[in-house]
Structures are given as C-alpha cells and as structure tokens.
C-alpha cells in the first residue's frame, strides 16, 4: 500500500516536472512581453517584470499588421483542417475497413511521404502552384497545407477507425440499417473524437507553419502570422525582443482557444462496454 502511494506520488511529481518543462518557455515569453527594453538587457533577469508595460504590444501592433496576418493564418489553418478532415475521414475508413493490396500500398506511401523535407519539395511545389495560378493566394497555401497534413491525418484516423468494432456496424445492419445510415448514426459519432483530434493537429500545424507561407505568399496583405513575426528579427539573430515576444504571445492564443473548444470532443471511454464477450 505504502509503495503504491509512493509510486503514485512519483508519477505526479514526474507529471508536474513535465508540465513545468512545457510551460516554462511560454511563461518566459509572457514575462518578456511585459518587460521594458532596459529590463530585457539587464544582467539579472527576473520572472516577474519589475516595471511591467504594455508598450511592447502597442509597438508590435503599430509596426506590423498583426490582425490582418492573424486573420490570414486563421483562414488558412481552418481551411486546411476542414478540407484535410473531409478527405481523410472517408479515405481512412475505406483503407482501414477494406484490407486490399492497394490499401496497404497507400499506407506505405503515406509513411514514406513523411520523410520528404520541406526544401526538397518547395521548388517543384512552387512551380506546380504557379501553373495553377495559385502562388500568392491563400487557397494555394491551403492546398499545400492539406497535402502536407493529409498523410498524418490519414494515419491518425485509420487508427481511430480500427478502434471502432466492426461488430457495432454489423449489429446495426442486423437491425435493418443501411450502409449510409450505419455510417451516419453509428460510426460517425464514435469517430468524432478522432476527427476532432485530427482537425486540431491539422489546424495547429497550419497555424504555426512558416516556410511554405514565406515562399508562396508575396503580397504583404496576404502574409500569415509566422511570416510577419520574423519581421521583428534582424541579421545574426538580433531581435526586437519585446515586441516580438508580445506578438508571439498573442499568436499562441488562437491555438489555445481552438484546443479549448475541441478538447471536449477528444474524450475517451465512448466505446467502453459497447461490445461484450
């Protein structure tokens, strides 16, 4: 009993340490965002700003079109998440339920495609988009994000589909439900957590993406937030730290908001007890 308590305490301690490890950079970012320049260059950095200021936020908004860039990012990320999920869900269902050589080849290709680095594909991708007249357009960027997110989204959703017992669909069929009815009323609700997690993954990936957006979007009014954030940096890693931290702190908020909304869907235990025996 005592060893069980100690193990539990150890687990909580490890969890706490991990949470701190994850949270510290964000807390430091927040702290930096509220510090005046003289505190940023001070020899004794403190977690709590001694003389907190909103000047960094004012400067960030005054110097760069952050709201417009955030809107562009939001459109690109939402577009990528919705389209990726719409394509990946039926595909994952088909590949996971109908085990054919084509399906196995497709899943192999999905794994291989994850190995390509950005720099390898960017020039051909640029030329393809140019021929499609989609360079310097948010739809073009959405297309790229969808293609980039699709393999992993497919992989994730296949796992969720496999976790839904086929017996449930068979039971619905026995009860007289047609294929479409079964999919809509039985399978889809059980897949909802997986779809939500996949959408979240696609959203966050697109929201944070920098390189494709940098190369593909030329018009300043169409550029996304990660691209605009780099304008606070100069050569040799020199940066206007205060405004950069303020803008970066604001840039994390939509991801947190989307996660807060979607995470309610990512619940476990929906299938507990669904199939007996």
């Amino acid at each position: 009993m005592r060893s069980g308590t100690a193990a539990r305490a150890g687990q909580y301690a490890a969890l706490l340490a991990y949470l701190l490890f994850l949270a510290l950079p964000f807390l430091w970012l927040l702290s930096t965002a509220f510090k005046p320049p003289r505190e940023l260059g001070g020899p004794h950095p403190a977690w709590i700003p001694r003389d907190p200021t909103l000047a960094n936020f004012q400067q960030a908004f005054a110097e760069q079109p952050l709201l417009r860039a955030a809107l562009n990012s939001l459109v690109a990320a939402l577009g990528a998440a919705v389209v990726a999920v719409l394509i990946a869900t039926p595909t994952a269902y088909a590949v996971a339920r109908r085990r054919t050589p084509l399906g196995r080849a497709a899943t192999g290709w999905v794994v291989v495609s994850q190995a390509f680095p950005f720099v390898l594909v960017i020039v051909p991708l640029f030329l393809v988009l140019k021929n499609l007249r989609m360079v310097d357009s948010v739809p073009g960027l959405v297309l790229v994000y969808v293609v980039w997110a699709l393999p992993f989204a497919l992989w994730m959703l296949m796992g969720y589909v496999r976790a839904v017992p086929a017996e449930l669909e068979e039971a619905a069929a026995v009860d007289g439900a047609g294929r479409l009815r079964t999919l809509v009323s039985v399978t889809a609700p059980l897949l909802a957590p997986g779809v939500a997690a996949t959408a979240l993954f696609a959203f966050v990936t697109a929201w944070n993406e920098f390189f494709f957006a940098l190369v593909l979007l030329k018009t300043p009014e169409r550029q996304t937030l990660p691209v605009v954030l780099t304008r606070f940096t100069g050569p040799e890693g020199v940066a206007d730290l205060g405004p950069l931290a303020a803008a970066a702190a604001l840039a994390t908020l939509p991801s947190l908001a989307v996660f807060a909304v979607v995470q309610r869907r990512i619940t476990s235990g929906l299938l507990a007890g669904a199939v007996k025996g």
Binding site: P37, R38, L40, G41, G42, P43, H44, P45, Q59, E63, N72, V75, L78, G79, V82, V119, I122, V123, F126, L127, K130, M134, V135, D136, S137, V138, P139, G140, V142, F210, F211, L214, V215, K218, T219, P220, R222, V227, T230, R231, F232, T233, G234, P235, E236, G237, V238, A239, D240
Partner: protein
C-alpha cells in the same frame, strides 16, 4: 438535418472567404508596378524606407513601387525559390556575401549602364568590388558596418588604460595586455567577451588588419587557401585571451552579439567586439546612466583594415522593368536618402557624399569613430569564392570553435582549414 445545414453553410462561408483572399495583386492598367523587397527591420529603418517609397510614388505616378518587408533569417531560401519560379521581387535587398550564387546563376541583372554616373562615382571602387562577379555588377552596395569595440567607459577610466582612437588605435598585442589588465577572472570579470557564434566572418574580417587573407587567387584563376603567420594573429590573440590570460570569457564563444549585452551591462565584461549597428540595442537596453563608448578594433600590420559585406540593392534579371527598377534604386541612394537609411539602420553609407554628412560625424553614440573607419573597409575575403559557404559551414566553423576553446592547436587548425578546405574548393572549381 439541422447539423448538415450548418456544416454546409460553414463550408460555403469558408469557400467565400478563401475566394476573397485570392487575386492577381490588383495591378492597374497603364501603370508599372515594381515590387521592392526590403530587409529593414528596425523601426526607424522601416519608417525611412516607407517614407522614401511614398516620396517616389508621389513623384512618379507612372511607376508605382510596392514595399514588401522580407526578413534576414530566411532571405536566401525565399529568394532562391522565387527566382527559380520566376516570381522574384523586382528590387531585392540583400547582403553582398549572399549574392554570388544568384549572380552566377543568372538571376540578377547586370547593373552596368543602368545606374547614373553620379551613383557610380559616389561609391568607392572597393565597395563596388563586393558586388562584382565575373564581368558584371549585380548589386549596389549601400550600407556597411565595421566591427568595433563597445567599451564600458567607466571600467577603462578606472584602469587608467590609454583610450584608442582611429588615429592611434591599439595594436593586437596592446589590446591583449589591456584586456589582461581589465580582468579579474576569479571574480568573474573579464576584459573582453568574444561573441563568436559565427566565428568565420569575424575572424576573416578582422584578420585583414594583420595582413591575413587566407584566400588567394592563383595564376590559373582558381582560389586556394593558405594559412600564413599573418592569418594566425587574430585567432592566436583570441585563443590566448580565453585559454592563457583568462582575460576573455570562454562561455561567450558560442554566443551571438546580443547575448553578451546583459553581462556587459552588469560589469562582467569591459569590452565586447560587435558590429557598429549594435549601438541601437545598447542605447535601447543599457541601464540608466551606463557610460559606454565606441572604440576602433585593434590594428595590425595593415592598420585598421577590415572586411565587410555591405548590404546591397539588386534588380531581378526577370524583371520586365529593369530600367525603372534601377531608377528607383538610384533615387533611394541619393546622398540625402542614403543618410536617412544609414541613420535608420545605425550603419555607415558607402557613398562618399552621404558619409560626409554632419549627422554621421557627430561624437554622439560613437558615429564619428565609425565614419573614421569607413576608409579602411575592404571587401570581406572570399565572399565571391564558389564553395566558400560549404567551407565555412563544414570546415572552418567547427575548426575555429575548437581552436578558440583550446581543444586543438594551431597546426591542426591550419591542416583543417587548408587541406580539408582546398578539397572543398576544388570540387567547385573543376
């Protein structure tokens, strides 16, 4: 049913939003539109650029310039992709050490014959050399910065050391002994902090003062590396300061310039060798009452000579409006405008007329020391040598880092820089 309708409505809205975001850039008929990608990032500099673009647009209704802000960290990859895709900006802001691949690749327009005689004559020949590749000139060098010593004036006064000036600078030996005098390593106080995260440009640029140039062009036209006694002066001084005298902190060798500033303000380091433009950061971040000054870098057998890679303005070879783009560059670099750009970036203009402007000759913030160094600035060694980036990344950076930290000696450094280095260069010069 209601859910299905909601999803359909949301998708329709998304399609509408996406459609609204696409377009061809809204170019008006009958008017030329040029895209100018600037890498200016500091507030004053961005303002100066924007104002100049607005002034041009007001005076030239037929040729509208669109200001696009790029960023230093990703400019090479971004430009390379844009050039290859035929979608590059018409006017490109970059640095001379990044131009070689673009110039040799045919992506930049040869500016000979496109610029005014005034501009060509105003910028010294040695500056033009930084943007000359083969027979062509592929950029206008317009801003540059020497490396200087930013010093804690109170510490220097306390120690009673001689204060160097551009007319009477420290020698490298004198610099070494001064830093020794200013140090108390057991108390964590050092005479100098060398921020050598990128050790190659700093070493090569400063080595010119001692007569070191490492890259030599032989009779067959090929570049080869040699490491002679003059090349060892600067690296030898730094290594001795870190490992023998303990007058330089070893912990800053992996840092960037900005990372050393808190220690500098806190009295840990008496001096930091930095680019001239770092003064802006110091003005912004130094504690109230902190007394600092700008000193020239030490001199060697070749005096105060040092290498620089100026910022440049180029015209894309694919631009359908090269002449108009060159005219805009010419406008941007009129002497008065160069002064505004230089003040905004805290750097020195290359143009002689701009450099003589009283605003850049003031003692305040060390401007006068910087302008006095301008005549000693030369093209950074090797920037036009093909294969230099690979030599820098794979050979020279790790070799110099190990040498400075004391892990390897001079003979091993020489062997790696020369033997391994020449093998790299040979691959590019077959």
């Amino acid at each position: 049913m209601r859910t299905t309708r909601r999803i359909t409505a949301a998708l329709a809205a998304l399609v509408l939003v996406l459609t609204g975001c696409s377009g061809d850039g809204g170019r008006e008929d009958g008017r030329i539109t040029l895209r100018f990608q600037s890498l200016a990032w500091q507030r004053e500099s961005v303002e100066a650029n924007r104002e100049l673009v607005a002034e041009w647009n007001a005076a030239h209704p037929g040729v509208r310039v669109e200001y696009v802000q790029g960023s230093w960290g990703s400019v090479h990859d971004q430009l390379l992709t844009s050039f290859m895709g035929g979608e590059a900006p018409d006017i490109v802001h970059d640095a001379s050490d990044d131009l070689a691949d673009f110039a040799y690749g045919g992506y930049l327009a040869d500016l000979r014959g496109l610029l005014s005689d005034r501009l060509e004559a105003d910028i010294p020949r040695r500056s033009w050399e930084t943007t000359t590749f083969g027979d062509g000139v592929y950029g206008v060098p317009f801003l540059q910065e020497p490396r200087v010593l930013i010093a804690d004036a109170a510490r220097l006064r306390e120690a009673g050391v001689r204060i160097p000036t551009p007319d009477d600078p420290w020698t490298w030996d004198e610099f070494r002994s001064v830093t020794k005098e200013l140090s108390d390593p057991d108390a964590g106080r050092y005479g100098v902090a060398w921020p050598l995260k990128e050790p190659v440009p700093a070493t090569l640029d400063l080595s010119l003062s001692a007569g070191g140039r490492m890259f030599h062009r032989d009779a067959d036209g090929k570049a080869r590396i040699r490491f002679r006694a003059a090349d060892a002066v600067v690296p030898g001084t730094v290594r001795a300061q870190v490992n023998t005298d303990r007058s330089a902190s070893g912990s800053t060798l992996g840092m960037g310039g900005a990372d050393t500033l808190p220690g500098f303000f806190g009295g840990r380091y008496a001096m930091v060798p930095l680019g001239f433009s770092y003064r802006q950061q110091i003005v912004q971040q130094a504690p109230e009452g902190f007394d600092w000054q700008v000193l020239p870098a030490p001199a060697g057998a070749d005096g105060l000579t040092q290498g620089v890679s100026p910022q440049t303005l180029s015209v894309a070879a694919d631009s359908p409006h090269r002449e108009e783009a060159a005219a805009f560059v010419d406008f941007l670099l009129r002497p008065g405008n160069q002064v505004r750009l230089a003040l905004g970036d805290w750097m020195l203009p290359t143009g002689r007329t701009a450099l003589a402007d009283p605003a850049l000759r003031t003692e305040r913030h060390g401007w006068a020391t910087g302008t006095a160094l301008a005549e000693h600035l030369r093209p950074a060694p090797a920037q036009s040598v093909r294969g230099y980036p690979e030599w820098q990344d794979k050979i020279a950076t790790p070799a110099l880092q190990e040498y400075y930290s004391g892990a390897i000696g001079l003979s091993e450094l020489r062997k790696r820089l020369v033997e391994d280095g020449n093998r790299v260069l040979a691959r590019y010069q077959r």
